[in-house]
Subunit: 311 residues, 2 copies
């Protein structure tokens, strides 16, 4: 029942010897979602021991090089490793042309299918859904079309208390109903409330990935109540004009977004290499939103499974 | 008077957490030549503290992704760092189209000029020359057009012995002649041989970069007498059929090429990730050519300045 985020790269456009360009892997119950794919992503995946073959979906926020230049090497390596399974790339429509060009130019015949799922540029959209999780896009404010991604676990059926099933000898057809929320009436006419028959419900977990973007407060409502928000903080607030000009955010603005959207925890990254020290970003963000962490490559953030009564 | 090679990446097509794809920097008297540019090259350049801004020439052996996918990020970063100086890319002619596509697609307006110098596919050619160094291509035998590069220092003018100039009071116009190799006749008619007036000549140093290629013995004569030869050793000789099929070499063949061409030292790399242990490559190569080293990313190999009498 994992819900964990691994940061593969946390630099802004200019990588350093310690920070690779942007990429992350989110593991939601053993679904491994790759989010952006900056140069060196495949190397970081190996370094941090993530299972390359189990990545079936890649989400690309926008087509700037520092979020996408690792894709060509990654696709080639999957091929060399004998991949047969589909790989779905969720991106702006133009991504498909780039991949087509890359395959043609480098004579790379990929032996596995790539499925393109272009998403709308300007509309908050549900772009992925399975039994356990949904993924939505949040249109952002950058120099080119860009989206954020919100990953949310779905509400799961209630877990029934096994001791009650045994004690009351509840038949199978009634168990199904109880899991869906019904009370139970035994053959002798006693009524047992659903609450006493089931465990408190598992709280769905959620993660929002918000980069690259200028501050745009109206997005807060779409990102509401996530457990973890990663928000870019390219600049310090003393450079807020530069942030606006380049379509980026300051640490203070990242914190405001976490605050307005009622996130539980804020991760900041994508720091401009013009600043020597990351602690100033954290100090600035904490002045508005206390639970802030500046990420490093290789950091892993987990959200543990809780039931509603515990949380 | 440096002559030093830094290995940035030494994997074959599939990088590992320890070995990046192929790239090297050769420093010849403070000229920094980048040779191939696999994914992550810019990160390794920073990690190993090489001066990105002082790279003015890039040599690309062939257009397979593991030798070239780092180029787009590198060009972008040079731009972000405010580069103004020309950058010359020596590559097969098709490289120019890829760079053009990359600039168009990613909307990257580069603020420095890129000069393309396509080289002949099939002919041993002199492709670069300045006061201190020449670079030649060696056509190799791979699945697509591929060349090796041989870097050779030029023979330098003789260094005159200052004690003799002072003692014999040699006029300036005669010094020029002595540096070019003449003897000296003093005003009183004494003849001083060039040898007694000058230091022994500085031995020009040389480096050959030979990857990717199947074994092709006839190339040995063009690579003759280098101080260091880097030669790919993708396979062990027990897989020599696979080597031939894929256009690669075995460690034994790399050693044979070093031996036939009278190299002084052999570096091997580009190991297939199918083998767990690099020592088997070294053992195999040493059975033919003793002075063999298996490279690791970050290794630096220097050739010191010597005069002919010392070497």
């Amino acid at each position: 029942m994992s819900f964990s985020l691994t940061v593969l790269g946390s630099s802004s456009a200019l990588p350093t010897s310690k920070r690779f360009p942007t990429a992350q892997v989110l593991n939601v119950q053993e679904r491994f979602f790759l989010i952006d794919c900056g140069e060196g992503t495949q190397i970081q995946i190996r370094r941090f021991k993530l299972p390359l073959s189990r990545i079936h979906h890649i989400f690309i926020s926008h087509l700037h090089g520092d979020h996408v230049f690792g894709l060509f090497g990654l696709l080639s390596s999957m091929n060399l490793l004998g991949r047969k399974a589909d790989l779905t790339i969720h991106a702006h429509a133009e991504m498909e042309e780039t991949i087509r060009y890359f395959k043609k130019f480098f004579g790379t015949e990929l032996l596995y299918p790539i499925v393109f799922k272009p998403f709308p540029r300007k509309r908050h959209s549900l772009i992925y859904e399975d039994k356990k999780v949904t993924v939505e896009t949040i249109p952002l404010r950058h120099r080119i079309p860009t989206v954020g991604f919100v990953f949310r676990e779905k509400k799961q059926p209630l877990n029934i208390r096994k001791d009650k099933v045994t004690k009351l000898n509840i038949p199978y057809r009634d168990i199904i109903k109880i899991k869906a929320g019904s009370d139970y009436i035994s053959t002798d006419g006693n009524i047992y409330s659903n609450k006493e028959l089931t465990l408190p419900e598992v709280r769905p977990r959620s993660y929002a990935y918000i980069t690259d973007t200028a501050y745009y407060e109206k997005n807060a409502i779409m990102i509401s109540n996530v457990d973890i928000m990663y928000h870019e903080a390219t600049f310090l607030d003393r450079d807020h004009k530069l942030a606006k000009l380049t379509g980026h955010s300051t640490a203070l603005q990242a914190a405001r977004m976490a605050d307005k959207s009622h996130a539980r925890k804020l991760l900041i990254g994508h720091f401009s290499s013009r600043y020597k020290d990351v602690s100033a970003f954290v100090d600035e963000a904490k002045s508005v939103f206390e639970n802030t962490v500046a990420v490093e490559d290789g950091d892993v953030f987990q959200v543990r499974k809780t039931r509603v009564s515990e949380s």
